[in-house]
């Protein structure tokens, strides 16, 4: 069953590498957007509804449909795939940031402000560290789902493990499909385990 992996390890490794890059770049960009939006949503209840609503709606758009729409605007290639992945990750990441910040013990914030930390120092030195386990939970869920979603990037010439799946389907080569699926599943599991480890480490 895993014949393709044994016969073409270099090709699988190269596609796996592309896949990892797609996911990591998308996750990094997504976090840069989600952190400020999450802080905004946690601080201003009036903005929470539109922010969570819009990202929630994006999340419900079928991924193939979103990709097709983006291709019409941005063309084929990895950039388009990354834009789609970033958009999908927003809801999970922002919810993590909002839940994390809202869950911070109010006494910590009262003590911090009372001791003379500025609002910014309180956010960076007290609230974020206290919210970090919950925020990282969101990052983990986002990472695992991006690994799965990134397989369809191959459909718009963005590479990754999806290439094996689409090639396998087109040429009726089940060994290729199995190799691609196994590699993607393994990547998702490893991402989950690593990020769980990070979560535990920051909780201590």
């Amino acid at each position: 069953m895993s014949g393709y992996l044994v016969e073409h390890p270099a090709r699988v490794a190269a596609l796996l590498g592309q896949h990892v890059v797609l996911v990591l770049v998308a996750l990094a960009v997504a976090l840069l957007i989600a952190l400020p939006l999450g802080v905004l949503a946690a601080r201003r209840p009036r903005l929470a509804l539109p922010i969570l609503g819009i990202t929630g709606v994006i999340y419900t758009i079928p991924s193939l449909a979103l990709l097709a729409l983006l291709v019409a605007v941005l063309g084929l290639g990895p950039l388009t795939a990354i834009v789609a992945l970033v958009a999908y990750a927003q809801m999970v990441l922002i919810r993590g940031v909002v839940a994390g910040l809202r869950g911070v013990d109010p006494a910590l914030i009262d003590a911090a402000r009372g001791l003379g930390l500025t609002a910014r120092q309180t956010l960076l030195r007290v609230e974020f560290p206290a919210a970090l386990p919950v925020i990282l939970g969101g990052v983990r869920v986002a990472a695992v789902s991006l690994v799965a979603l990134a397989t369809i990037a191959a459909w718009i010439d963005a590479g990754g493990l999806g290439v094996l799946l689409f090639e396998g389907m087109n040429s009726d080569n089940s060994a290729k499909i199995v190799a691609g699926a196994l590699a993607a599943a393994a990547l998702a599991i490893i991402a989950d385990i690593v990020l769980r480890g990070v979560e535990r480490a920051v909780q201590r």
């Binding site: 006494a107 003590a111 911090a112 001791l115 500025t118 030195r125 560290p129």
Partner: protein, 272 residues
């Protein structure tokens, strides 16, 4: 305030003088004012207890002193200067603040928690380290044993000792304490009260202490300010409050056993 000379062992400082002039607080959307036209002068070095039932406005009043709450009317002066003229964060770094929930930062060690304000004020490492040990000793926690611990490794009483040390770190001339010992058991509370009385005696810091516990107020206060429904009902020495309660509310608060309590007061705290 935090003098640049590193003579940290010369502990005793003058206490700040606090004046509240017609202070009123009305929260937005609230139908009644939380604090109504309170005027109060707290003498340097005095330990004043704000005493009253929950919701009487005593915490709100306390929080106007370090600008965690901005009065909707009236003025708060510290050593004659309007607190509104100061940057709120800079002001708070000069005022100690202790709360019931302690609020130690869980991701910091005990030493890092105590060092928060000195760090904000830019003290160097050696001075901070020396000050941390000095403060832990002051609140009777062995620095060698406690310095590197995390807040979750402390008992409730130990945590509040660290909370007090953190509040005193930058030698404030004023210490605000909001129900600081309400969450610990009676035995620990008594020992923490004795520590605060000792620290107050040793340092001469002005302390404003909020509690709903009459016995605690009687034990600690130089002066008790009884509050009800946002207003001051009576202010005076513990003995005067017990002997001459101003009205039925104060009489009910100190209870029918006022005389027993007055006798208990005559036993000095140090001997407990």
């Amino acid at each position: 305030m935090a003098s640049s000379q590193a003579t940290d062992s010369a502990e005793r400082a003058h206490g700040a003088r606090v004046e509240l002039r017609d202070v009123g607080v009305r929260y937005t959307n609230a139908t009644v004012a939380a604090v109504r036209d309170v005027s109060l002068t707290i003498a340097p070095g005095e330990l004043t207890v704000l005493l009253g039932p929950s919701g009487c406005g005593k915490s709100t009043l306390l929080r106007t002193i370090n600008r965690l709450v901005e009065p909707t009317s009236g003025t708060v002066l510290i050593d004659g200067a309007d607190v509104r003229a100061r940057d709120a964060d800079a002001l708070r770094r000069e005022i100690g603040y202790v709360i019931q929930a302690v609020g130690l930062f869980p991701h910091f060690t005990v030493a890092q928690n105590v060092a928060v304000v000195p760090r904000l004020l830019g003290w160097d490492d050696a001075r901070v380290a020396a000050r941390v040990d000095e403060l832990l000793t002051l609140v009777r926690l062995d620095p060698a044993r406690y310095r590197a611990r995390r807040p979750r490794e402390l008992s409730g009483g130990e945590a509040q000792r660290v909370g007090v040390a953190r509040a005193l770190a930058a030698r404030p001339h004023l210490l605000l304490m909001d129900e600081p010992f309400a969450a610990v058991d009676a035995i620990v509370r008594a020992s923490l009260q004795a520590e605060i009385a000792r620290v107050h005696r040793e340092l001469g810091t002005t302390i404003v202490f909020v509690t709903h516990d009459v016995d605690e107020a009687l034990r600690l206060a130089d002066r008790i300010v009884v509050m009800n429904a946002g207003a001051v009902v009576q202010a005076g020495a513990p003995d005067a409050i017990l002997q001459r309660p101003a009205d039925a509310f104060v009489r009910a608060l100190v209870g029918v056993d006022g005389e027993t309590r007055r006798l208990a007061l005559e036993r000095p705290l140090i001997e407990r």
